[in-house]
């Protein structure tokens, strides 16, 4: 029997099925294999990085728009009363009316606290009645549009629905902006050692010409309190809970980064224990106070008193003051005090 190469025909029928290959097939396959090897080698050569891998470059610091109204100056109004509509109306009026802040054609963004999927009765989130009234005031002042947003801790749809914020915003004619991946941009906050190449909910911010923060006054297990400055936490994306390790510096950095037109601090029912989630109306105290200010540090300093604390008890307030965000001595701004009865 003649010797044949392995790929050639054999006399055995079953082996013929498996190994049959003629010279032409062989040459075609050899050419293809050669082309693949050559192609892979060429791609390797093209993609070869002689410097090797290096750490990703941190994007340059990004300055978010300054929404403050220069002429408004540093002002604070502290209004007492249990009716949120009356107290917020009085507070805004005391600061010169919404028209001092919102002009015709302004696109207003309202940053609420919708962190948890909890009912309005627990006061863990922005009160929907208060929100609706502020939206109304914005439109009355001539705003072209009003948008309401937050990047909640819990599922966004549940949060906006169960807190009543979604319904209140829509009923008042505001647009509700829920977080989605395309609305986040990685930014590095100027001067911040913590907010570096971090996803920030910039989509709604970029479209706005005015920014108003509305936050409830709450106890906070980690930071001592959650008020106007802590409210900006909801602009952060990613695994932001890692910032809890350095919470006071982080809140200060947020306050440096976000320059609002106005902040409204709702201390009608303050969450004095078990914050920031609470869980029962037993965690609330009727403190019957509405604070509105162009100075977020002053607003939080006044709010601290509602929790039985002083600004000195909340390191982030003093850090923000040192960073030039505002003053913890809110009395120095000569607060306009009103009682709505």
């Amino acid at each position: 029997m003649r010797e044949r190469p392995l790929w050639a025909v054999t006399d055995n029928q079953s082996l013929t099925t498996v190994f049959t290959m003629d010279r032409r097939d062989f040459l075609i396959r050899l050419a293809k294999a050669g082309a693949m090897v050559g192609g892979a080698a060429a791609m390797g050569l093209i993609l070869h990085d002689p410097k090797g891998p290096s750490a990703p470059a941190t994007p340059p610091p990004t300055r978010l728009p300054d929404f403050s109204v220069g002429q408004a100056g540093q002002k604070i109004a502290i209004v007492t009363g249990s009716d949120r509509i009356k107290t917020v109306d009085a507070a805004i009026e005391a600061l010169g009316g919404m028209g001092s802040f919102v002009k015709k054609a302004d696109r207003v963004l309202i940053k609420v606290n919708a962190a948890f999927a909890s009912p309005p009765s627990l006061c863990a989130t922005t009160n929907p009645v208060l929100l609706a009234e502020v939206v109304r005031l914005c439109f009355l002042a001539g705003a072209a549009s009003v948008a309401v947003t937050d990047n909640p801790i819990n599922d966004p749809e549940s949060c906006f629905s169960l807190t009543g914020i979604g319904e209140a915003a829509k009923s008042a004619g505001a647009e509700l902006i829920l977080p989605s991946e395309s609305l986040f941009t990685n930014i590095t906050a100027p001067g911040s050692t913590l907010i570096r190449d971090w996803p920030v909910f910039t989509g709604p911010i970029e479209k706005a010409t005015k920014l108003i923060g509305i936050a409830p006054v709450k106890d906070h297990h980690r930071s001592g309190a959650s008020m106007a400055m802590k409210n900006w936490y909801g602009f952060m994306g990613g695994r932001r809970n890692i910032f809890h390790q350095n919470i006071h510096t982080f809140i200060k950095d947020l306050a440096v980064m976000i320059k609002p037109t106005l902040v409204i601090l709702d201390g009608t029912s303050s969450m004095v224990s078990n914050g920031p989630t609470g869980g029962s109306i037993s965690d609330l105290k009727e403190t019957d106070t509405m604070i509105a200010s162009t100075d977020q540090v002053a607003a939080d300093s006044a709010g601290a008193l509602l929790l039985g604390k002083t600004p000195k008890d909340l390191p982030y307030i003093l850090k923000a003051q040192q960073a030039g965000v505002g003053t913890s001595d809110f009395e120095s701004l000569h607060p306009i005090r009103i009682s709505t009865g």
């Binding site: 909640p152 599922d155 991946e181 297990h221 980690r222 994306g237 809890h244």
Partner: protein
């Protein structure tokens, strides 16, 4: 050109199915992962929407079950997570139920699985609401106007509601849940403290870094009233009398390092010391395996009286 055999074809199909499954897994994880920046929903929740056996009539499942571990707990309760994470947290399960006749009336049940019954009692006691009434559940529990809180073995339960009119349903729910729990020996609390002047509802268990001292852990505190003054008494059971004695000395040293000065001793309690820390008084003593004292008291006399009362009770227990 030869054709592929049946074995090769089957193997190829299996590999393709396997790769497709991996791709689907990656997609689903990305879409629903709690770690993602834009989503907080657990993929597991999609498969847990059955009605639990403890659900009272008239209530139905409202939303899917969510579970959180130590990595994701902050996604649910934000800054309060630290309280649990420092006290032996294992897992949180959250379920929401609503009135079948009125979906706006809903109840949320949060079940915190802790490492052991003491850890569960700790997180329960440290969040005790002042305006509350005890509930007869067979376990430590209380109700407020709109919520029920209780602890059963290594689990701490919070039942909260969207409106005030759901208390009856919440109580039935709590009773049904308790019935389903395995029997555990209750954490002993009030038997440690002397009865006179004691507010039994105030007893709390602090797991670590108690009174800001890193060396002090597993401390029971209770509130007393003495001549109109609120006094916090504390007890910590140690492994041996020697350890209790050493801890008393270490805590005293800590107080001095932080601005305290030793102002007196209590003759009836050997080794005891009273410290003045700024404007308040602190008594530190030890009896047998117990570290005992009073904390942050406005007057020296009340600090001494209550600490001694607790000391004597424990002294009798030791005998």
């Amino acid at each position: 050109m030869r054709r592929a055999g049946a074995v090769e074809t089957s193997t190829g199909i299996l590999i393709l199915i396997f790769l497709t499954a991996i791709a689907c897994g990656v997609y689903i994880y990305g879409a629903f992962s709690q770690d993602g920046p834009y989503h907080n929903r657990s993929i597991l929740s999609l498969f847990h929407s059955r009605e639990p056996s403890y659900l009272p009539k008239g209530l139905g499942v409202f939303g899917s079950e969510q579970t959180f571990d130590s990595q994701t707990l902050s996604n649910e309760i934000d800054g309060k997570a630290d309280l649990y994470l420092s006290s032996g947290f294992v897992k949180l399960t959250v379920r929401r139920f609503a009135k079948k006749t009125d979906p706006k009336s809903w109840i949320e049940v949060s079940i915190y699985r802790m490492r052991n019954p003491a850890d569960a009692f700790s997180v329960y006691s440290l969040q005790k609401r002042e305006k509350s009434t005890p509930l007869n559940l067979g376990v430590s529990g209380y109700g407020t106007q709109d919520a029920v809180f209780f602890v059963a073995g290594p689990k701490y339960f919070e039942i909260t509601s969207s409106t005030r009119g759901l208390m009856k349903d919440m109580k039935v729910l709590a009773q049904n849940i308790v019935k389903e729990q395995p029997r555990y020996t209750a954490v002993k609390t009030d038997s440690l403290f002397a009865d006179k002047g004691l507010d039994k509802s105030s007893i709390s268990l602090h797991i670590k870094d108690v009174f800001s001292f890193s060396g002090l852990d597993h401390v029971y505190t209770a509130e007393y009233t003495d001549r109109g003054i609120r006094v916090t008494a504390f007890i910590s059971k140690r492994k041996s009398p020697q350890e209790a004695q050493k801890l008393a000395a270490a805590y005293g040293k800590f107080l001095v390092e932080n601005g305290g000065t030793g102002v007196a001793e209590i003759s009836q309690a050997p080794g005891s010391k009273i410290f003045k820390v700024f404007d308040t008084y602190e008594v530190v003593m030890h009896v047998g395996r117990f570290l005992v004292g009073s904390h942050d008291v406005d007057t020296l006399e009340s600090a001494r009286t209550i600490a001694l009362r607790v000391y004597r009770k424990l002294g009798k227990t030791q005998k």
